[in-house]
Each structure stands twice: as C-alpha cells, then as structure tokens.
Amino acid sequence: MFSKRTMMAALAAAFVCSAAQLAWADGGVIKGLASWEGEPYKRKPIQVSADPHCAKIHSDDPLLSEKLVTNPNGTVRDVFVYVKSGLPVGKTWPVSSEKVVLDQNGCHYVPHVFGMMAGQELIVRNSDNTAHNINTSPKNNEGFNKGQPKKGMEFTETFENREIMVKFKCDVHPWMSAYCAVMDHPFFATTDEEGHFEITGLPDGEYVIATWHERFKKAQEQTVVISGGETKEVEFVFKRPKKKKKKGN
C-alpha cells in the first residue's frame, strides 16, 4: 500500500522523534573547562612533621598545598561550577539517596572541593592511622566539631540549608581544609584533574552558570541557553590577578 520510500521516511521520522524525546528526558548538558592563563602555579610543599604519621607517609612524596592546583594541561582543578539562576521557580528537586564521602586520607581531605544537596547524607571517614578532628563553622547551617581518633571511624551528617561554601578544617593538622557546597538542586560539578566539568539533566531554559574557587574572591558567570536537550560547552579562564597600584587611603 505504501511505497518503500514512504515507509523509510516514516521510520526515520519515528527514530528522530524517539531520539529527541530521549534527549529531552535526559535533559541538556553544560560542560566545559576551567582554563589557566599564564605560567603553571607552583604549589608549595606543606610542613607535616608535627604528626609522625603524616611525616612518614609524606617522607618521599611531599604533601603540596591545594589552595590552587593548575593541571599539566593548563587547566584548574577544584573549581566548583553550578547553576546560579534560571531553574524553574518553586520547583523542588529530589534529594539524591547516594551518600557523599569526605575522606581523611594521607593527611588531607579527599575530595578538596565537592558539592552535595541539602538533606543529602555526608559520610566523613578517617582512613589515616592518626587522630583528626572535623571542624565546620557554616553560616546557614548547624556546625560541628567532631573527633575521629582512630582509623576506620566514620560518622554521617547532613546540612539542611543551601550554602556556598561550608569549610571543613582539622585543628590537629592545620594545613587540612575542604570546601563543601550545599545546594538546593542537583546541577553542579567540580573540575577534575583535566579541568573538565559536566552538568547534566538540565531542563530547557536560560541559565547563569557561576564558578567558585577558594583563591578567587570574585565568581565568574556565563549565560547559557539550553533547548531541546542540547549540549553546550563553556570555558572559564582563570589567571593570576595583577597587583593594582596603590591610590592611597
């Protein structure tokens, strides 16, 4: 009844529609790079001799400062990228049941920068054979200071309110710090050892994407429009600020 050509066209149309629906169901993607402009940043070695355990494990492989890490490919690690605005107003996003893990391993926090949702469970673990305390002083959430004197100890915490950032620190080992962004939606990511980030599942809309890094006081922002579940790429460029001339008081 139908010609072969008509049948093929109908099949192709059906395939395209299914693919489009699938794309819409998965949502749009914003991915990209946090690039570093200029000479690679030289990380300073940290003096860890105050704790024999830390001194032993870092005797051949010094622990380096994590305040700013530029990757070998000219990118920046540990930049927190998130959707600042543009999400549907009033919509609440289900809290992931996946637990986030913050580990004290090798006398530093792993990961150094991370995000989680308000109400999501955070497991804090001590994988070191020494005592750590985990001290937070958030502004919008309940803080705590807990001790983990032994290897293998864990406790679970949640933060109920959005806050960028909650700083974790160890007073036994003053060089240790980590930063946790508590978000009210799941659209965030942290750049990796290649400087990449990827935010998936975004509904169509116009978004402001912002960055946070512990060394840079001012956030960078870009506007990205997502439609039809597409993938968009953005790049944030970081560089050492120039010293301004003093104009007087």
Binding site: H53, N133, V172, K244, K247
Partner: protein, 341 residues
C-alpha cells in the same frame, strides 16, 4: 631564758619558717600560672584551640590517661595546656587552704579564695570555648581572666614576702598617694592593651597589617574597601595569607595605638619614681624592670610582624606582656607596703 620565752621564740621562729614556705609556694603558683598563659598563647598561635573537640575528656578518654604517643599536631598544644591548667588548679587549692590555715591577715585569706574561684571559673571558660567552638568573646574573656588569675597569684606572692609591713593610712604622703594612683592607671592601660591583643588574635587580625612600623606603607591603615582590595591581592598571591577586612585591620591598628598609650603612661610613671622615690630601692627596681620589659615588648611586637607571627616570637611577646602587667602590679603593691625596720 625562761621556758615560756624560749617556747615563744621557738613558736615565732617556727611561724616565720612556715610563712617563708608559704611565700615560696605562692611564688611557685605565680610562676606556674605564667607558664599556663604561655601554653595558652601557643594554643592560639598554632590554631589548636579545637584540636581536642571534647571537654573535659580528651577524645573520649580521661585527660590524665590520654597516651603521650597520641599528642600529635594541635593535640599536643591543647592537651598540654589542659594538663597545666589542671595542675595550676590543684596548686591554687593548696595555696587557698594553706592561707586559711595560716596566721595571715584575713584579707589575704580571702584573696586566696578569690584566686581559687578565678581559676575554677577560668577552667569553665576554657571548657566553654571548646563546647561552643571558640566564640570570640568567650575566648577573649578566657584570655582576660587568665591575666587576672596571674595577678591574684602574684599579689599573694608579693604580700606574703617576709620583711614587709603594710603602710598605715597616716604614713601616706601626697607623693605616695599620687604614685599609687598613677600605678593603677598604668596597670589598667597594660591590662587593656593585653585585652586588645587578645581581641586581635581571636578575630584573626594578628597579621591584618603585614608591615611595621608603618601600616601598608602609611601612618594610618586603609579606610576604604577599594584600597584594601589591592592589599588583599598581595596578601593572597605574594604572602600566601588569608584576605582581611577593614574591621580586622583597624582592630590590629588599635593594638598598635594601645602600645603607644602604654609607652606614654609607663614613661611618666618611671620618671615619677626616679624623681620622687629614688631612695626606695624596691620601687626603683620595679620601675627599671618595667622600663626594660617595655623596650623588649616593642621590639618583640615588631619582630612578631616581621616573622609573620612565628610561634616562639609571638609566645615571647605574650609572655613579656604578662610580665609587664606583673611588674606594674608589683610597683603598685609596693606603694602599699614598707620594708620592716
């Protein structure tokens, strides 16, 4: 010599020996309180105040049985500070009881009770700083009360020293009365400067100005956020320090201005002692000690900045501050006493 007389001489001699040992013990307590303040200073400088998250236990264990092998990093400073604090508490109990069982004047016995009350309160404040995670005002109060505990212990040591008697009201000359008033002023100035120093440290303002004697190249530090922006770029990127805000800069500067006030007051006091009391060896000695400590303290303040608050220099700066408070107090107390003739 009759039996009654010999007994009386023996009793007097025995009491004098007991009084001497009481005085010596009071000196030991004052020295230990001074050492406790130094230990506390090291806790603040190293940021170890919360290295032991619980109180009065240490990581869930009895603080007296926490094994030394685990005194690592910040735990070393905080835990040792607590142990010294407990020891000073015990010493104060002994001193208080000893005073009450001695033949000392009643006011001295009450001073011993005040010392014990102060050190108990100090221990509680220390616990509160840990439980409430170092709120600024509790931390500053803890620092201030430490100085008061030291002053009370030192007062007991001075007032129990053999060979001194209280000046009767009728004996006081106009110059002595003026000197006494001025000693109180200097003591208050030094104490307030120490409180300012504590406020500076507990608001992370100790290195809010990174040069000395100028403040970021000027006599007066920045007064606008715009001026502070370029300073913070240098702090973060050149000096690897945390950025600061205007409040922190001005708290730091207030401590420097306070130092000038103390210098002025101390110089006037020392001049007055040399001018009118050059025959009173004990006053001249205390004034000379105060002068020497003042010069040392200014140098240490400068080196604290130049060394970016190195642990030992900062601890020495705190220690000399305590000694200045102590020497001002001794000078004041000596205006209340005379050597026995």
């Amino acid at each position: 010599m009759s039996t009654t007389a010999s007994t009386s001489v023996y009793a007097t001699s025995s009491r004098s020996s007991a009084d001497l040992w009481l005085h010596r013990f009071a000196v030991v307590v004052a020295v230990c309180t001074f050492c406790l303040i130094l230990a506390g200073s090291m806790v603040t400088t190293t940021g170890s105040g919360l290295a032991v998250p619980d109180w009065p236990t240490t990581y869930g264990q009895n603080m007296f049985t926490y094994p030394p092998s685990r005194w690592v990093g910040g735990i070393l400073y905080e835990h040792v500070h607590r142990l010294i604090g407990a020891s000073v508490g015990v010493l104060m109990i002994v001193l208080c009881l000893w005073l009450w069982f001695s033949c000392r004047p009643r006011r001295l016995k009450w001073l011993g009770s005040a010392a014990l009350l102060a050190v108990c309160l100090q221990g509680l404040l220390g616990g509160l700083t840990v439980i409430f995670r170092l709120p600024t005002w509790i931390s500053v109060a803890h620092a201030g009360l430490a100085e008061i505990c030291f002053c009370i212990a030192l007062s007991i040591a001075v007032l129990t020293a053999p060979g001194w008697r209280a000046i009767a009201a009728g004996e006081l000359t106009i110059e002595q009365a003026k000197l006494r008033r001025f000693c109180k002023v200097v003591l208050a100035c030094v104490f307030l400067q120490i409180i300012l120093g504590a406020l500076m440290r507990h608001t992370q303002s100790g290195l809010a100005i990174t040069d000395f004697p100028l403040a970021y190249g000027s006599l007066i530090p920045p007064t606008s956020s715009a001026a502070l922006e370029s300073i913070n770029i240098e702090r973060v990127w050149e000096l690897e320090l945390e950025p600061v805000n205007l409040a922190q800069v001005w708290i730091h500067f207030a401590h420097r201005v306070g130092a000038l006030v103390v210098v002025l007051a101390a110089v006037i006091l020392v001049r007055r002692v040399f001018a009118h009391f050059s025959g009173r060896k004990e006053l001249v000695a205390a004034a000379m000690v105060l002068s020497g400590l003042l010069i040392l303290q200014i140098l240490l303040g400068a080196v604290t900045i130049w060394s970016q608050a190195s642990l030992h220099v900062t601890t020495a700066h705190v220690g000399v501050g305590v000694l200045m408070l102590g020497s001002s107090l001794v000078l004041l107390l000596r205006t209340w006493t005379h050597p026995r003739r």
